[in-house]
Symmetry: C2
Subunit: 154 residues, 2 copies
């Protein structure tokens, strides 16, 4: 995993910038770039530890910054009080559903959103850079568990 295609692209990015290719950077990149997505910085740090590697939290943050600058990772803010990061591979214009019970994130894509936001922005004389749409709710799995809890509480 430390030498797969997407990590190679990060390595190339570092070389272009004449930045040292350190083992921490490769470890973090290898894990985050191949993760299923939507990890917090702490999640990444935990992954590093769990795979038997070592990297301080500050280094995780600093490496994530580089991955974002390289365009290989994108930053997400779901209003949870912390940021999440996902590999750019998945990015081509998708939106998110966030489960308010378990924090799970699902993705969806709908071209109408893009078109609508484009039109709205144009009508307001707004130069649109991007948009963020998040649907908050309860995922299927948590709904199955929820009724029992509701009964207990009421």
């Amino acid at each position: 995993m430390a030498d797969d295609a997407v990590v190679e692209r990060f390595r190339a990015f570092l070389r272009e910038r004449s930045l040292p290719v350190t083992s921490q950077r490769l470890t973090i990149a290898g894990l985050l770039l191949n993760a299923p997505g939507h990890l917090s910085a702490e999640d990444v740090a935990a992954l590093v530890r769990d795979t038997g590697h070592a990297a301080g939290l500050a280094t995780v943050y600093r490496t994530i910054d580089l991955l974002v600058e390289s365009g290989l990772v994108v930053e997400r803010d779901f209003g949870e009080g912390f940021r999440r990061f996902e590999p750019a591979r998945d990015v081509p214009r998708h939106e998110h559903l966030l489960c308010s019970v378990c924090g799970a994130v699902e993705e969806f894509r709908d071209d109408r959103i893009d078109e609508i936001t484009r039109n709205i922005a144009a009508a307001r004389g707004f130069s649109r850079e991007r948009h963020r749409l998040v649907i908050h709710g309860v995922c299927r799995a948590c709904q199955r568990k929820a009724p029992a809890i509701d009964r207990r509480l009421s």
Copy 2:
């Protein structure tokens, strides 16, 4: 302003809960509920000071919590690292445009967004609570100033 209709509703909310009606609470409610919208907690605290009143920042936060619980104020998170609050009066389902230069917030409404998110959630077995759509870009006013800056930088 301290005794307008919407502040009366807050007063009623406090009474229902048997909570003391303090001058700080009325001041904060009167200012926030009648504000043009999208204020941070610090904005509210500054408003309090600027109108010759006094209330500690902690009290501002605590009172905002009550206003949110009462449903008279809604909380917004535009990913700026802090939260904003707006009177619920404006809320009937609107979305936001956020200027990434000056931080100005504009609102718009589009019923298709609601319908689309409803359908997406249903298709995923997601019980939808709400959604948040923010268009990030540069507002008309900032675009007028930007070209000069661009030239200066390049």
